[in-house]
Symmetry: none
Subunit: 135 residues, 4 copies
């Protein structure tokens, strides 16, 4: 079953709350199983360049059903997926994108977060993932 | 002053509520004064192709500070702006995009709606505009 | 001989002055014989969407060494160049773009103006052309 | 407050003067807070390929509100932002792009310079920054 707007908004809201708590300014995107945008917000004064990156992180996480950072580990010079970022109109392969799973464990979307360090981006995305855990 | 996320979300929520009331499935996008996305939602089962159209409508309305349909009236064959849609990476010039103004009457963003007839798209966008009236 | 930066800036300055005189807010672009940008200005509060259009008008005028409106007359439905706007990453074929000629009558660049009615766009571009007449 | 055309032209003129002084041929671009072009010049015989690079540097500096070289330090193989250049239609992450701040210390635009060594590109951009200091 595909992610609903209600679920996407729950994930965005939880990530937003986490970002406020951490004092960071984020772009937060959720895509569905087809890797198409379902919900998006840009926090006031968040980096403008992170808009596109947050959406690309969400898409990348769904394209390969794994956290974006895992792909980045394989796309380094000499790695097996070197240059994969050139596909699909541009991938982002550093942390901040995570697949979202439904109650049956199937990937039904993904969340992408960008606006601060990749560690903080990932932490905020993880808050979105947790908000949907068990749904 | 630029549109805030809070204001953008108010506009999106009002448009969403209007769409539910009308029984239509919409993509709803809000951009800021720089024509960059601030908030977006896609309702369940809304046309997938309307995702891009809603964002392009919002951008088009801000690009020229007028409702998208007004541009479409001039871009017909024989019209003074025939073919303007080829600019800016693709414009959408039929109704559904409307500029958003702040309390001082300055355009500080725009809303774009797509998913049904252009009349309904415009009506839903207008609900978003009204939600920010006087702010 | 190619257009120099100095000449391009003269054309831009003359067009700018004309726009101020007329009370219109314009984007003004000058390209060289290779159709590559040499000088550009966007006046305060000029339409954002006209940025790309002004550059595309200048390029289009140089691509075919004629005023953009002349091409638009041929690209209407049923016309001999119908759909030409799809080429070259997007052409703009309504008035506002005019070739620039050197003292020997050779096209050595073009000016593109966008921000108001096509008649006013053309008038402002023409002021840029006149500034270089005989050079 | 957004950067005005007058301010953008001051920054461009100062950078141009610096380039003449240094004997280098530059492309110089200034964007506003929305990362949209406000003023641009290409010096005679400047590298043609640097046209796009100068604009991308200005955009990149505004996208992340930091000098482009700072991003390049993080986007190397093994770095936390490896591959970020694939976002936003192409970033340039080597030196030559610098944010521009208004009198209140807020970023209200950026300047991008390309045409020589990255050290010289940066020096010329810095001259543009200095021209607006305290405005």
């Amino acid at each position: 079953m595909g992610i609903t707007l209600k679920q996407a908004q729950q994930a965005v809201a939880a990530a937003h709350e986490k970002a406020l708590e951490m004092g960071v300014k984020m772009n937060i995107a959720v895509v569905d199983a087809g890797a198409n945008l379902v919900a998006f917000i840009r926090m006031d004064d968040a980096w403008l360049g992170s808009l596109d990156i947050s959406i690309k992180k969400a898409k990348t996480a769904r394209f390969f059903d794994m956290p974006t950072g895992a792909i980045g580990g394989l796309s380094q010079p000499g790695g097996s997926l070197f240059g994969i970022e050139h596909s699909n109109g541009g991938l982002i392969t550093f942390p901040g994108g995570i697949p979202l799973k439904n109650s049956e464990g199937q990937v039904f979307g993904a969340i992408g977060v960008s606006g601060d360090t990749v560690e903080n981006d990932h932490a905020v995305a993880e808050a979105g993932v947790q908000a949907l855990a068990g749904q």
